[in-house]
Amino acid sequence: MTTLSMKKPGTTKLARRKDPLEIIATIVLTLFALMIAVPFYNVVIVSITGQAEYLKAGGLMLFPTKPDFDSYTRLFQNKLLWTGYSSTLQIVALGLPLNVLLTFCMAYGLSRKGWPGRKLVFVLVLITMIFNGGIVPLYLLMKELKLLDNLWSVVFAGGLNTFYMIITKNFIESLPESLIESAHLDGANEWTILFRIVMPLSKPILATIVLFYAVDRWNEWYNSMIFLTTPTKFTLQLVLRNIVINSEMQGAAASSGAVSTAAAFTMGVKMCAVIMTMLPIMCVYPFLQKHFAKGIMVGAIKA
């Protein structure tokens, strides 16, 4: 679009002096971040502490006297951890484009006014947010589609999130109508408008829903627990969940067939699991985060 031009965010040199509001904001947010950071530091520390030292310290610990990577070693020995990464990455890679495509198509369609059936479609879509048939019909559907024990079942089951779709629709509606209208008058068809005008202008919301979907995909465990039967296809979160829950429930049944020479340090393994799942997200997150701040486009359109 030739009408677009880049512009710096609206900070002017006049506003150099620190505003009281900014000072309040800084203090409040710093405190809040600290409240989060301290327990997180604890997570990291527990993950590299031996069980005996952890138990003796009782909650309060700054740093282990002797870092112990036993919990990591135990976790890494589990072959399912690595197949879990691979399954999850496949699901993200297959699912994310599908998510974005479906979400934007639906959101754009609903944001356009005047076509017959729009209200009906929107109501039908909203209904799916509130009503669902439960797990058995969904399972039977996957069985019918021959998708059981197939990663595609997980990909399709999470194909569209109506909540994210509505957020996207709202954002698109906030874009200047005139822009789309003038494109129309220029003879652009609907998908040109969607992919060439609306999508590029929707970068903040695109970044947001990509992040939301990616995190949902990354955290996927319930559907894979239901639909998949082969352990090497399990997603990362399902594998980690099984490890954590199994270490808590072991021997709860009548008897245990296999003798374990030493029980895992449940808390340590839990914390390692946290770090192993969060690390990739923490690497990707800053790149996405940049885009939330880029609200300049919208303002620049009219210039």
């Binding site: 509130i130 906030s174 800053p286 210039a303």
Partner: protein, 318 residues
């Protein structure tokens, strides 16, 4: 493109059928665009929704969902025999209504505050940190909390050190609900904030420049520009949250409650879990319960939507 635009005005109105046909013709491209998502909804949302009929049926696997016999309202009648059921409903509503009061505004406030910060690096660092807890599952949050808030944990050690009496955070019925709101804020508000940040970044910067020329200070800009521009998003989020009142919080409460707090903790979803986990689930019964839950959710959502419209907002069905 539009045929309607070129059409010359006529003295009479077209018939309904003809108008619709024209409108269809004018917008056929939109139908193509929404075809894929519509297909997805049809297959993966509406197809399984036939399962809702199980609420009035006795599920027989050999005969399938469609072929299972109808049994009228038996499933619903059975639900009401247990006292715990109604108690769990009221508890769910009260917990989640207060959640709306205490937890819902926090991400908005955080987003507005974050927007006031100018130090770019620091700002994005803070934002990153605040989103972290969202990646923790409640199982993990619960073990961290048990660790920190136990009688001999970090917080009580500090309280003792400064001469205060210790607090039984984990086993107290009175403190249970406040704990829910605090942990919810801790875990999810940084994440929910993202939606508002995205909305803020979509605000037309010209408005701010115009206000600056008028000599508005930061606070005035916040109240007159940022907040009103954020309002549609807030309204939508509020309405959607209201439509979730009967179903929110299972994972959190399931993991944070224990036998000492169980009498104030069992919400509807936990009740369903308890009655179905133990033995072969009666899918008819659990569908009946979740159907009731959905109906309540829908009523609440429609009420919230109507309320939003009365207050002058646009509501969900704009």
């Amino acid at each position: 493109m539009t045929t309607t635009a070129k059409r010359t005005p006529r003295p009479y109105r077209d018939s309904w059928g003809k108008r619709t046909m024209n409108a269809f013709r004018a917008h056929w491209q939109i139908y193509i665009i929404i075809l894929l998502p519509i297909l997805w909804y049809a297959i993966f949302a509406y197809r399984p929704m036939i399962g809702l009929t199980l609420a009035f049926k006795k599920y027989m696997p050999r005969r399938g969902v469609m072929g299972s016999p109808w049994i009228g309202l038996t499933n619903f009648e059975n639900v009401f025999i247990d006292q715990d059921f109604m108690r769990s409903i009221w508890r769910t509503l009260s917990i989640n209504l207060l959640r709306l009061v205490f937890v819902f505004p926090v991400p908005i406030i955080l987003a507005l505050l974050l927007n006031e910060m100018k130090a770019k690096r620091y700002k994005s660092t803070l934002q990153t940190i605040m989103t972290f807890p969202n990646f923790l599952s409640w199982v993990i949050v619960s073990s961290i909390l048990t660790n920190v808030l136990a009688m001999d944990g970090l917080v009580n050690s500090l309280l003792r050190a400064i001469g205060l009496s210790e607090v039984n955070f984990l086993g107290s019925e009175q403190l249970f609900q406040p704990m829910l709101y605090i942990t919810d804020i801790w875990k999810s508000s940084g994440w929910s904030m993202i939606v508002y940040l995205a909305a803020i970044s979509g605000i037309d910067q010209d408005q701010y420049e115009a206000a600056e020329i008028d000599g508005a200070n930061h606070f005035q800009k916040l109240v007159r520009i940022t907040f009103p521009n954020l309002m549609p998003t807030i309204v939508v989020m509020f309405i959607l949250a209201t439509g979730n009142l009967m179903s929110a919080g299972f994972d959190q409460i399931f993991n944070l409650s224990n036998s000492a707090t169980k009498n104030v903790a069992e919400i509807l979803d936990m009740y369903i879990y308890r009655i179905t986990f133990q033995s072969a689930p009666d899918y008819g019964l659990s569908t009946a319960i979740s159907l009731m839950r959905s109906v309540v959710n829908m009523v609440l959502l429609l009420l919230a939507d109507r309320g939003a419209k009365l207050m002058g907002g646009s509501g969900l069905f704009a």
